[in-house]
């Protein structure tokens, strides 16, 4: 969360915060547990009106940022999403919208982008997984050419909101390279298996492409050369997931600090025990570290700085690991009430737990950092 937001950024953040307080209170989140989609379309459209979908999109395509740094602005929304464990396909829709803004064609893809911007439609990001080296990716989807058509085969999992999205951005292997295509979710040959997850309002699916045929106009960017586009999309997704996770950490931490002052045992508040105070101090240091690296990585990703991948992976690994420890310790300090569904604490634990494991796990990101260090040392030698 920015230390010194501009007045416009602060107004923007506060508007989203007010909206979420009103439309996504904890009771509403609990009710959404049994909702097939996990979020309400009208809620999402109204969020789009607040600017949730337009920040990474060029002005020429109907988007625009608050401060000139769209990803930084978006991180404020993502932070509030985490702080309220809010529903809605924030990460995937923004990643796909930015990809279409950067690389999309003028015709049909521009229309899809307009739909994402208005909140009428949502998109799923069928992302590849991190490869063995910093700039390599693993995907089980393959493209074969059949005349002018492209034929997709393979399965991607887990894909957030695959079952709700109107559009899928798919990364597939084509020969030695990667190609990205935008596919209508209803295309023939696509099957979505619904997956289970711990977040109350997010839905995941496994998407199987069984000979899905699309035209050459479905390609986003240059065929066979999507690797750097994927890198950019991952940086953006990681930025949003990190900001969201830090929002969840902050909410859980604040709730637990308050509890430690209010809860008495043996005639003393919990906050008066040194054994517990020291744990709060550690948690405070992890929380501040989470804020710090999330914002540094966001600033680097905003301008695609050379160190953006390294910072992004450091943030993703740290926040996943220590954020999990922080919220689990918040549960421990709450005692029995902390492991009940009626308490709000688990809403943040759920959000963080899922964020930890998508777009690269902490371990995968640590290996990626090691690869970056090795490449740098190799160059220096």
């Amino acid at each position: 969360m920015l230390i010194n937001p501009t007045e416009e950024q602060e107004f923007f953040r506060a508007t989203t915060e007010r909206f979420l307080v009103e439309h996504a209170p904890p009771d509403a989140l609990r009710r959404l547990r049994d909702d097939a989609d996990g979020f309400d379309r009208d809620y999402w459209r109204r969020g789009a009106e607040l600017g949730w979908t337009s920040l990474l999109v060029d002005e020429a395509h109907g988007g625009g940022s608050i401060s000139g740094a769209g990803l930084v602005d978006l991180s404020l929304v993502a932070y509030e999403f985490g702080h309220h464990a809010a529903p809605g396909p924030l990460t995937a829709t923004n990643v796909v919208a930015s990809a279409l803004s950067d690389r999309g064609s003028d015709g049909e893809q521009a229309e899809v982008l307009a739909g994402l911007l208005s909140g009428e439609a949502i998109a799923a990001w069928c992302a590849p997984e991190l490869g063995a080296r910093p700039d390599t990716w693993r995907t089980a989807v393959e493209i074969e050419r059949a005349g002018d058509a492209l034929v997709l085969r393979g399965t991607v999992r887990p894909v957030e909101h695959a079952g709700q999205a109107e559009h899928l951005l798919v990364t597939a292997r084509e020969g030695a390279g990667l190609t990205q295509v935008l596919v209508p979710a209803g295309a023939s040959g696509i099957a979505v298996e619904t997956l289970e997850t711990v977040d109350l309002t997010r839905r995941f699916g496994a998407v199987t492409f069984d000979g899905v045929r699309v035209g050459a106009d479905a390609v986003v960017g240059v065929p066979g050369e999507a690797s750097s586009d994927v890198g950019r999309q991952l940086r953006r997704a990681v930025t949003m997931l990190n900001a969201e996770a830090v929002g969840a950490m902050q909410a859980a931490f604040d709730m637990t600090v308050e509890w430690s002052f209010d809860r008495y045992s043996f005639g003393r508040p919990l906050a008066s025990y040194q054994a517990l105070k020291h744990r709060f101090a550690d948690m405070m240091s992890w929380l501040q570290a989470g804020h710090a690296i999330s914002d540094s990585a966001c600033a680097a990703a905003q301008d695609d700085e050379p160190n953006a991948d390294e910072l992004g992976s450091a943030a993703k690994a740290f926040i996943g690991r220590y954020g999990g420890e922080l919220i689990q310790d918040c549960v421990q300090l709450h005692g029995g009430i902390g492991v009940t569904f009626d308490h709000d604490l688990h809403l943040y634990l759920r959000r963080l737990t899922v964020n930890r494991s998508v777009a690269g796990t902490p371990r995968e990101h640590l290996r990626r950092i090691a690869g970056i260090v090795e490449a740098r040392e190799g160059e220096a030698a």
Binding site: I3, A281, Q288, A292, E310, R367, V373, E377
Partner: protein, 429 residues
């Protein structure tokens, strides 16, 4: 805050813009400061013979003088005291420009931070005129006479005593953990001036020359072979009242800021630190080199450990910057510097463990000098960084009590005259 004062003073003058400052700094640095690797900069001269260490210190003093003559010393110190009257942003530019160059960074701490910062903040006009310019010229190096053998973390429980004798003071006692006191010139000394009031209200800060017959300096050998730390014995050391800094018995006001500067030193605008150079002797690059030497780079568990070391290093930098900015913006109190202390200390412990872990069996016994040697020795002295400069336990207390506002620990030294406070058996007052 003195940084703000420095800005106010120069408000009416034209402040050099950052780009022309950068050009000026770069021109001087490329022409005058030799390239130097991080490993070379980290070399611990206190392990070797005294001649080599003295030569290195003399070299750093010369470099500091050149930097002073070039108008690049004391970026955030006012011009009236030999500084440049510029801003923390200028200091940051200098920190970027000195990367990979020979720079007198050994004498930055504690001379500039915390000592010079404290003189700037609490000194009288005469004291600032007298002491700051020689510091900025590299002529006078300072040490902190702060900790005592009787108690490390409980700094305010100082037993070193100053007794007034007309317009001078007579000091007796012992100080410890001073870095390189034997080649330094001045000590900033916290002493007890009143035993009949509670401990925080009977302290006063003095400035005294180290090289005098009444100050005896002993060197201490550490587990890694370093002999940088010293212990001093003060016997009837006479200090004129004009070398007292701050009010009599109000030394804790000075002491609080003193420790703030100490905790912030790697992010302080009063000293220069090459960007990206971590001050722990184990960094992620070393961990990587140890793993490479062990032939384990293809092992995924090792890769994760190398990645973890680098992660902690990057985050240590980020958290230092963030807390500094939060304090400047008034979002967190000065006490939040303890968060940085806690995070960096814990991270350095972990990085040292990782360096040792990835060494494999070579961590038990090795031949020659190399990354693995450092890994084993650094593991041996792993806790050093979590003790020196205030223990992590103290930092945790500060974060919980002063930042989060949790109830303070019950204490037996409050509201009673210091002479009645229970003390360790070994420390005679």
């Amino acid at each position: 805050m003195s940084a703000l004062r420095a800005e106010e003073e120069t408000e009416t003058e034209e402040i050099e813009d950052l780009e022309s400052f950068r050009r000026r700094a770069r021109a001087f640095i490329t022409a005058n400061l030799a390239p130097k690797t991080i490993d070379e900069m980290r070399q611990d001269y206190s392990v070797g013979d005294e001649e080599a260490e003295l030569a290195e210190i003399a070299h750093e003093r010369d470099l500091q003088r050149m930097i002073y003559d070039a108008g690049l010393a004391g970026i955030c110190f006012p011009r009236a005291y030999g500084g440049q009257g510029l801003t923390p942003a200028h200091q940051m530019v200098l920190n970027e420009e000195i990367v990979g160059r020979d720079f007198p960074w050994r004498i930055q701490v504690p001379t500039f931070v915390p000592c010079a910062a404290i003189i700037l903040e609490f000194g009288t006009e005469e004291q600032k005129q007298r002491y700051l310019p020689p510091i900025l010229r590299g002529e006078e190096l300072w040490m902190q006479f702060l900790s005592e053998p009787s108690g490390g973390s409980d700094v305010a429980a100082a037993l070193t005593t100053a007794v007034r004798d007309g317009d001078q003071w007579v000091l007796n006692g012992s100080k410890i953990w001073t870095t390189g006191a034997w080649w330094s010139d001045w000590g900033l000394c916290l002493a007890r001036t009143n035993w009949d009031v509670p401990k925080h209200r009977g302290l006063t800060v003095f400035m005294l020359p180290i090289h005098q017959p009444n100050v005896e300096v002993h060197r201490i050998e550490m587990l890694n072979g370093s002999r940088e730390f010293c212990q001093e014995f003060l016997t009837d050391v006479v200090v004129p009242d004009s070398d007292r800094i701050g009010e009599v018995d109000d030394g804790w006001t000075v002491g609080t800021r003193w420790m703030f500067h100490e905790r912030m030193l790697f992010n302080s605008p009063y000293a220069s630190h090459p960007v990206g150079v971590t001050h722990g002797s184990m960094d992620a690059t070393s961990v990587f080199k140890v793993a490479r030497e062990a032939g384990l780079l293809e092992d995924t568990a090792t890769q994760e450990m190398v990645g973890e070391a680098r992660m902690l290093e990057l985050i240590s930098d980020a958290v230092g910057k963030r807390i500094n900015e939060s304090i400047s913006a008034g979002k967190l109190s000065d006490q939040a510097a303890a968060i940085v202390r806690l995070f960096k200390g814990s991270s350095q412990e972990r990085i040292r463990t990782l360096g040792f872990e990835v060494a494999g069996s070579a961590g038990a016994a090795w031949s020659g000098e190399g990354p693995t040697t450092r890994a084993a020795i650094n593991y041996l002295i792993r806790q050093g960084g979590s003790i020196g400069g205030g223990t992590l336990e103290m930092a945790r207390n500060v974060v919980a009590e002063r930042v989060l506002g949790m109830p303070r620990e019950r204490r037996l030294d409050k509201d009673v005259p210091f002479r009645d406070v229970p003390r360790s058996r070994s420390s005679s007052g």
